[in-house]
């Protein structure tokens, strides 16, 4: 197993770690902002996963370089294009969530989930 192949697996493990830590962070924390951050971790992990899929050792960024016509020389542009969209989606989810947090803070005066749940039942 060459070093390069080994490292290409390591990155997957790291991404998985990031994803799982996001998942558990979301379950563990009662503070809504922390939940949101954990959620962002998960999203980022997925984006990284896609980008690694398109990665090619020695490839150049997929912007036309004069004279370089061999498609194999470039990194696969599709995952990058897809992830551009996914980033926008993440941005809007995060934005929406933050807006909700502002509203929640204003109305409940706390961002603790269990506290709000307790008061919701009343």
């Amino acid at each position: 197993m060459t070093m390069a192949v080994f490292f290409s697996y390591v990155i997957f493990w790291l991404i998985a770690l990031l994803y799982v830590s996001g998942f558990f962070g979301m379950m563990e924390h009662h503070h809504l902002v922390k939940k949101l951050m954990a959620m962002n971790l998960m999203q980022t992990a997925v984006i990284l996963f896609f980008l690694v899929l398109g990665q090619k050792i020695g490839g150049v960024t997929p912007i036309a370089v004069p004279g370089l016509t061999d498609p194999d020389a470039y990194v696969n542009p599709l995952p990058q294009a897809l992830m551009l969209t996914a980033i926008v989606v993440n941005l809007s989810t995060t934005g929406t969530a933050l807006a909700f947090l502002i509203v929640i803070k204003k109305h409940w005066n706390t961002l603790d989930e269990s506290e709000i749940m307790r008061r919701m039942d009343k």
């Binding site: 939940k35 997925v46 909700f100 509203v103």
Partner: protein, 503 residues
Amino acid sequence: MMAHIPVLLVLVPLLTALALPAVNWMMPRLTQIFLKSALLFNLALAVLAMRHVVTEGPWHYWLGNWAPPFGIEFVVDAMSGTVVLVTAGMAFVIALYARPFFKMDEAGLQARTLFYVLFTLMVTGVIGVAVAGDIFTLYVFIEIASISSYGLVAMGGRRAAFAAFRYLILGTVAATFYLLGTGLIFAMTGTLNMAQLSTLLPPMMGSPAILAALCFVMLGLGTKTAMVPLHAWLPDAHTYGPTPAIAFLATALLKAFAYGIYRFLYQVFGGHGQPVTAMALQILGWLAAAGILYGSVMAIAQKDFRRMLAYSTIAQISYIPLGIAIGTPAALAGAALQMISHSMSKGCLFMIKSGMHLKLHTTQISELRGMSVVMPFSSLALTISAFSMIGLPPTSGFFVKWQLVRGAAEAGFGWMMAVLVLSGLLNAVYFFRILENVFIRKPEPDVHSDQSHGPMTSAGPELPLPMLAAMMILAAGILAAGVGSGWLTEHIFSLISLAGGGL
């Protein structure tokens, strides 16, 4: 023009959503006309698309004329056409219904515009989910629909904001699951197009990566569809969200995700023809059955009509995965009919719910006495939609049950027949309790107090005309879909393809 209907189906609501603030800014008087005519136009397009599917088969549209592996493809077939039709129809009816909800002052108008923008965006997303031909476009539309639905739920007040936040967190996690599954599929096959995947995937169904992808995608879509045990977000969101939004969320949005499940299991992963997918379908069937029973039992336990509806949604929506899991043509026809039937009846019930709020100032079931005196027409609509939920003839709900029970019998799933029958009876328990209160019990003295509690309360015994009209359209639709179910099944649902092979 006619040749571009698949893309126009998505573009018309999208353009409406985008242009609405500008229209409201420049010509405030025209906003409503603009919105409703656009949605009506979209409905007409949906009908035309359906006609095309019926006469000429599935319809593929390539954006920018790029062939599928490179370009984005939109597909309208019998199943997605049904979803589109339901969505466009419900969107129009709900837009009709929603007008009396807003104060007519400056802030109210802004809120109204904001509501309609999010609402039409959600319509865009849902129709997009239905017509998307590749799994990443599907993701984008899922998120468009979801994010706007988070926003809409949050418009319902302080509890709604928290419910919306929880919905957002769970929904986004579901979306990342879905995206992860998509990534795995892409890594294994190098394509995202569904039609290509359906030929590329079968040989590699045994590989653990594809198995993981299947699990992730199903987890994602299952959460969004609120299948038990991933339903935790639904009751709060549906209880506290604003009615017009929820009426759409509980109907078209959930249907679209359920449709996504069908699309993946049959047209990507190969249906009953693949052992792995067959196993997934079996698990789906068990979960759907659990959802039906859980939702019905929880609905019986509720004292609040709103919450009861939310749990009833969990139960009813599970009919669709159940039909998908059974996988005979009859069962899939039942699932498709349930998309239409449940959309109309649950939409109607949510509308009645807020009618109760307006006129009786309560949604507690025990306080609904005498409703039939105050609102006779709403009560009639309530009866029809309740019958449809229970599955009593001649409403469409009965024919859903007929098709599903028949499908289950054909496939030899005796326990599913039992679940369906039991579900109908449980539904009867909680709906007849309401009907008893509405029609039969004598009203308590203070129910008729009709003093103004807000901007929405109008004079007169019944609800404002637009709201009533919307309810009546849906109630008539329930009966029409019941009487016409044979026609629908024979001409439209018989075209639903079980690409990977049904039972």
